[in-house]
Symmetry: C2
Subunit: 361 residues, 2 copies
């Protein structure tokens, strides 16, 4: 690994001049600068960011803390973070905590030792104190998709609005008895989605009935199980809103086994727009979260805060988007558009190349 000293020697100048020439900072005779650059290139010189960071207290490295990158929600967020980071010259260190506080603590220690310039948190159960410690130490933090009672920037999606859109959609199709399968009552996302359900009913002048609300656990099996309870209700609901796609998937399977047609006999809407929801039969109407944008905005907030440590914290709330597919409306036109789509594609890739812009559209 060559250093500016060796380059300086070869160029017959001082290290300081090499530094200036390479960084374009300060005055260097144009011709000399070119010569130095050429020499640096020929030596395959790469500046040492450790030495740099030691001096200017900037590492151009960020930390990204997720529970598990393997969980389908996070790759899109991570991609958003990483893209913005990269275009701004930052690298991103990935941390999988599994929601384990000790692991989280260990990762944070590593990040601090590496002197990262900031951290994006996307973990479900963050320890408020962990975030606070970071903040106290002067390390900027942005929370993505998490509400936490800490004074820092954050991005999240409006779960109330998402659920409101979903249920509003069903109600405007004429349904009047809409059952809901919620998530665990202690999670804010679940609470907010229930709230949206209530608001939609209210707005449409339909009384809220607690008996139509069943608590699931965000896993497929609970949807599968609770669907049977819904079918047995008297009078039977004509539509179901599941607080996430996994549970909706379970509902779908259960209904199929019971010979109940979707959407003809029972309409169904999920939440999250995981890839799965595009390939079920019928394809699932659902609420898409702007995952990529969440990551991207989180990273923008972070980078902006790094240069302005004292400005007021921003709380960005993104709007989710209802994606109407086949599980909620009887007539459909998607079939044609899908075929049209297929025509214009020609890319190949080892594991099925995809493109991020197609992620949430």
């Amino acid at each position: 690994m060559p250093t500016i000293y060796e380059i300086a020697k070869l160029a017959g100048v001082s290290p300081a001049t090499v530094s200036r020439a390479l960084n374009g900072t300060g005055y260097v005779r144009a011709e000399l600068r070119e010569r130095i650059r050429a020499i640096a290139d020929s030596m395959d010189y790469h500046p040492n960011s450790l030495a740099r960071g030691l001096l200017n207290k900037r590492t151009y490295t960020l930390g990204l803390v997720v529970p598990d990158i393997t969980n389908p929600f996070f790759p899109a967020v991570a991609r958003g973070v990483e893209d913005v980071a990269h275009t701004n010259g930052y690298g991103v260190i990935l941390c999988n905590t599994d929601g384990n506080l000790q692991k989280e603590a260990k990762y944070l220690k590593m990040l601090r030792t590496k002197r990262v310039d900031g951290v994006v948190f996307t973990t479900s159960r963050v320890q408020a104190s962990h975030v606070q410690d970071l903040l106290n130490a002067g390390v900027p933090v942005v929370l993505a998709d998490r509400r936490l009672d800490v004074r820092c920037d954050s991005v999240s999606a409006d779960n109330v609005d998402g659920a409101y859109q979903a249920v509003g959609h069903l109600l405007s199709l004429g349904h009047t008895r809409v059952a809901m399968i919620t998530g665990p009552a202690n999670l804010t996302t679940a609470q907010e989605r229930l709230e949206g359900y209530k608001q939609a009913l209210c707005e449409h002048g339909i009384a809220f009935s607690p008996r139509l609300v069943l608590e699931g656990d965000f896993r497929q099996e609970s949807g599968y199980r609770l669907a049977r309870d819904i079918v047995r209700m008297d009078p039977r609901p004509t539509a179901v809103f599941a607080a996430n796609d996994l549970m909706a998937m379970g509902v779908l399977m259960s209904l199929e086994e019971q010979g109940i047609r979707v959407p003809e006999d029972m309409a169904l809407v999920g939440y999250d727009d995981v890839v799965l929801s595009r390939v079920t039969r019928p394809r699932l109407t659902t609420v898409a979260q702007p995952k990529y944008e969440m990551g991207a905005i989180a990273c923008e907030l972070l980078i902006s805060r790094i240069s302005h440590p004292e400005k007021e914290p921003e709380k960005v709330v993104l709007k989710p988007r209802l994606v109407v597919r086949e599980s909620s409306v009887v007539r459909e036109v998607e079939q044609m558009s899908r075929l049209a789509m297929a025509k214009k594609t020609g890319r190949t890739g080892a594991t099925g190349g995809n493109n991020r812009n197609g992620q949430d559209t």
Copy 2:
């Protein structure tokens, strides 16, 4: 950010002693060591890895280059890499190249500037020269799931064997006319899977017929389109082996639309075991790749090479595993086991908690 100097001042000793006390290196009076540690803790001291790295030429940071973390294949690999890295005290910088060589070059420049101790490559079209440059610069490289004519460590899955298992499975069920939809002919994975198909036929004494082989592009649409050609063949094949799950998914949709039952009228096997294959109707028989293990082993190889730069390169080849589900065999028992599974689960999580060990099982 406190330094050992400030700690030294408070403890009334020299910085060197603090360093020794904190690192447990060299002799320090036990009582003094404890006192120093206590002071360090109270000051929330974190060693500066930049200064350290500058000195010992080790950053304990690795680079992970993937085409796109959003592509369902890579999170599991990344998780494998990251887990092993973390347990060995390394951090991992994530790089998404989108298969774009210029982006790749830019990332590699960043990684070199950051003086990462090594790099794991998992990108589909790696530039051999990029890898070679790294190697020449003394940066250890491990290739995961990629064959490349470069002298370095690698891990990959045996695609020939996977295809061989898949087709062997169909043949032993009594099928004699098995069609195959391959991937792009220029990709080694596609070539190898075709080779496995041929070997299985050969072994079972069935002549290879080129007319039964159709070239897809690893995308769902090509499976959808080619399925029609297969149905029109005379005599019609009774089974299809698709070189990946996405194409198998397309086949499934097409067959359903044509009123051809799977597996009764036509058996189907895919490749990759993406999550999707678990929720289709019927669920897809497929070949599971040990993605997590690939990542984990890649990282182990890398770390081991970092300490032994001169040892012979290792080429690890992992065995894929056939996962028999409903799309290939008429009688099924999975239904029950699924219900049994459901009973013993109780975890919750904001976005549907999952666990990585369940990834490939």
